[in-house]
C-alpha cells in the first residue's frame, strides 16, 4: 500500500515538473535589437497572445499530430533527442555500474580509516571530491594526460567522440563524483550503526570485524543508501553536462546546452550563413523530460527495492 502511494506521488511530481518546464520554456523569445553607439542592445518584449499561441500550438501538435517540430538541423525533434540520448546512455550506465560498488567499498574503507593516521586517504579524498568543482578535476586529468603523452604515453585523442574507444575516458571521469558522493553516504550510514547494541553483541560473539562490517552493519545501511540512489543519478547527470562539454562527446546533455543557444553561435553562422540561431524549445523540453524520466525510473526502482529490504519502512504508515 505504502509502496503504491509513494510511487504514485513520484509520478505526480514528475508530471508536475514536466508541465512546469513546458510552461516556462514556451515563453516567447522576441528580442528587439537597438543600436547603442557601436554595440547592439537587446530588449525583451513580451506578448500574452504569442505565449498563448505557443502553448496552444505545442499541445495541439503533440496530442493530435504526434509531432514535436524540427530542430535547427531540420530533423524531427524526437529522432534527434533519442539519437543523442542513446549516445549518453552508455556513459551513464557504465558510470553507475562502476560507481555504486566503488562508492560502497570506498565508504567502508573510509570508516575503517577514520580512527587511524591514514584518515586523509579515506575521508580526505572523499571530502576532496565533495568540495572541488568537477570541471577542475576533469581539466587537470586531461592536461595531465596530454603532458604524459608528450613524455611517451601512447597517443590517443582526449577530445573526441568518433573513435571506438571514445566512450572510455568520459565514463571513467563520470564515475569519480557519484562514487565520492556514495562513499560519504555509506560511511555516514555505517557510522550511525557503530554504537548500536546489536553490533556490540556481534563483536562479543567473537565475529571477525569483516563479518560484522559487511554482513551486520551494511545490511542495515541499505535503506539509507537506496534512498539516495536518485540523488546519485542526479549527481551523475549534472556531471554529464560538464564531462560532455569538456571531452567534446556529443551526447544529450551537450545537445541540451547547444539547444539553449549558448554554444558556438558564431561557428553555426559560418556553417549555415544567414540562418538565425534560435533556441530549440521543443528539443529542450524533450531532453529535459528524458533526464527526468531516468530519475523517475531510479526513484521507482529504489522504492521497490527498499520495500523488500526495509521491513520497518514497509510497516510504517
Amino acid at each position: 500500500m505504502r509502496l503504491m502511494k509513494e510511487i504514485s506521488w513520484a509520478i505526480v511530481g514528475f508530471i508536475f515538473l514536466t508541465l512546469l518546464v513546458i510552461i516556462f520554456v514556451q515563453f516567447p523569445r522576441n528580442i528587439e535589437y537597438i543600436g547603442v553607439g557601436n554595440a547592439v542592445k537587446g530588449t525583451y518584449v513580451f506578448s500574452w497572445e504569442q505565449y498563448r499561441d505557443n502553448l496552444h500550438f505545442f499541445f495541439k501538435e503533440l496530442i493530435y499530430e504526434r509531432n514535436l517540430g524540427q530542430t535547427f538541423f531540420e530533423r524531427p525533434v524526437e529522432v534527434e533527442a533519442v539519437e543523442y540520448a542513446l549516445k549518453s546512455l552508455p556513459l551513464i550506465a557504465i558510470s553507475l555500474f562502476l560507481s555504486i560498488p566503488l562508492g560502497i567499498a570506498k565508504g567502508v574503507m573510509d570508516l575503517r580509516h577514520s580512527n587511524r593516521k591514514t584518515n586523509f586517504l579515506g575521508n580526505g579524498t572523499t571530502a576532496f571530491f565533495q568540495s572541488v568543482p568537477d570541471f577542475m578535476v576533469i581539466i587537470c586529468v586531461q592536461w595531465g594526460l596530454m603532458e604524459l603523452m608528450s613524455w611517451g604515453l601512447p597517443r590517443f585523442s582526449v577530445y573526441m567522440d568518433d573513435e571506438w574507444y571514445s566512450f572510455i575516458l568520459p565514463s571513467l571521469l563520470l564515475t569519480l563524483f557519484p562514487a565520492a558522493y556514495l562513499a560519504r553516504i555509506t560511511s555516514m550510514a555505517l557510522g550511525s550503526q557503530e554504537e548500536q547494541l546489536y553490533i556490540l553483541f556481534a563483536r562479543a560473539k567473537g565475529l571477525s570485524e569483516r563479518v560484522v562490517l559487511w554482513k551486520h552493519m551494511l545490511r542495515n545501511c541499505w535503506p539509507a543508501i537506496l534512498n539516495h540512489l536518485p540523488s546519485i543519478v542526479s549527481v551523475t547527470l549534472s556531471n554529464l553536462l560538464i564531462v560532455e562539454y569538456l571531452t567534446q562527446y556529443r551526447g544529450a546533455a551537450f545537445r541540451l546546452y547547444q539547444a539553449l543557444g549558448y554554444h558556438n553561435s558564431a561557428a553555426i553562422n559560418v556553417i549555415y550563413p544567414g540562418k538565425e540561431v534560435v533556441s530549440e524549445n521543443n528539443l529542450i523540453i524533450v531532453i529535459v523530460t528524458l533526464f527526468m524520466f531516468l530519475i523517475l525510473l531510479t526513484k521507482i526502482a529504489s522504492l521497490i527495492s527498499r520495500y523488500f529490504l526495509d521491513p520497518l519502512w514497509r510497516e510504517e504508515k
Binding site: 515538473l17 513580451f46 568540495s131 542526479s234
Partner: protein
C-alpha cells in the same frame, strides 16, 4: 602591451607565472591575474552571500509557518515542491532558468538570477529545518516546556532556537560553498549572472572592475587551457579554495558544537550523522 624581462627580452601577454610584477601571470590583455582574482573574489563573495541570505530569509519564516499545527497545508506543499524539484539536478534547473527570455534579456538579470538561484533550494532547506523541528518536538524537554505553560513564542525562542542554531550556522557555511559550487560550473559554461566585460564594439571589450567576478574570468579564460594552462587552472584553484574554505569551516563548526554538546547527549556523533542523512537529496556537486 608588451613586457620586458631580463632573461627573455620582450614578451607579449599572456605573461607566464612568476613574471616580474605579475606573480600569477596575466590574462591575454596583460591584466595582472592576481589583481583580477582578488577583485573577482570580492565581487563573487557578495553575490554568493546575497543568494544564501535571501534563501535563509525566505526559508526560515516559511519553516516556522509550516511547523504550526500537525496537518499544515503549507508543510505538505513544501514537501511535494521539493520532492518534485529533485527530478532535475540543480545545475540543469539553473541553466534552463537563466536562459528564460525575461531573465536572460532583462536589465536586472543579476537580481532575477539571485532570486532564482535562491529559490531553487528553498524547498529543500525548509524541508530540512522542518524535519529538525519535528524531531525536537518529540523531546521530553520540549514537552515539559509545554506543560509549564510556555506560549508559542516562548517555546520557539527558549526551547527550539538554542537547539536549532548550530544546524543553522553549519548549514549556512556549507550552503555558501554549495552556491559557489553551482556558480563555478555555470561560469565555466559561460552562463553569467553579472558581466564585467562589456563589448564596446567588434573585438573590443571594456572591463568594469566593479562587476568582474570569478565565474566570468573562468568562462573567458578557459579557452587558454591548451596554450596557457595556468590561466584557467589558477582561476579554478581560486574558486576551489573558496569552496574548500567554507566546507571546512562548516565541518569545523559542526565538530565544535558536537564537542560542546557531547556531555549532554548519549550518542554524540550519531545525532549529527543522522542530521545529514535526513537531509535527503543533498546536492554535492
Amino acid at each position: 602591451m608588451i613586457h620586458f624581462t631580463e632573461s627573455e627580452g620582450y614578451i607579449s601577454p599572456p605573461f607566464p607565472l612568476f613574471t616580474e610584477g605579475y606573480p600569477f601571470g596575466s590574462d591575454k590583455d596583460g591584466r595582472d591575474l592576481l589583481s583580477l582574482i582578488v577583485i573577482g573574489t570580492r565581487n563573487t563573495m557578495w553575490t554568493v552571500l546575497l543568494i544564501v541570505l535571501l534563501r535563509y530569509t525566505v526559508a526560515i519564516p516559511l519553516t516556522l509557518i509550516a511547523s504550526l499545527g500537525s496537518r499544515n497545508p503549507i508543510s505538505w506543499f513544501i514537501t511535494k515542491w521539493s520532492d518534485s524539484f529533485s527530478f532535475l539536478p540543480t545545475l540543469f534547473i539553473a541553466i534552463v532558468y537563466l536562459h528564460l527570455p525575461f531573465v536572460h534579456e532583462s536589465e536586472e538579470r543579476f537580481l532575477w538570477g539571485i532570486f532564482g538561484l535562491a529559490l531553487i533550494e528553498i524547498g529543500r532547506l525548509s524541508q530540512f529545518f522542518q524535519e529538525q523541528i519535528t524531531a525536537l518536538s518529540k523531546k521530553e524537554y520540549v514537552e515539559s516546556g509545554i506543560m509549564i505553560g510556555n506560549t508559542k513564542m516562548g517555546l520557539l525562542f527558549r526551547y527550539y532556537w538554542p537547539a536549532l542554531r548550530p544546524y543553522l550556522i553549519v548549514n549556512f557555511m556549507q550552503d555558501i560553498g554549495k552556491v559557489m559550487l553551482l556558480l563555478g560550473p555555470l561560469g565555466f559554461l559561460q552562463i553569467f549572472l553579472v558581466e564585467g566585460f562589456i563589448v564596446v564594439s567588434y573585438a573590443t571589450t571594456y572591463l568594469n572592475y566593479e562587476l568582474i567576478n570569478l565565474p566570468e574570468l573562468l568562462g573567458y579564460n578557459k579557452w587558454h587551457i591548451i596554450t596557457h594552462p595556468f590561466l584557467p587552472l589558477t582561476i579554478g584553484f581560486a574558486i576551489s579554495f573558496i569552496i574548500l574554505t567554507f566546507y571546512w569551516l562548516g565541518e569545523g563548526l559542526r565538530k565544535y558544537y558536537e564537542e560542546r554538546n557531547s556531555s549532554f547527549r548519549r550518542s554524540r556523533s550519531s545525532v549529527w550523522k543522522g542530521m545529514i542523512l535526513v537531509r535527503k537529496g543533498e546536492d554535492v556537486t
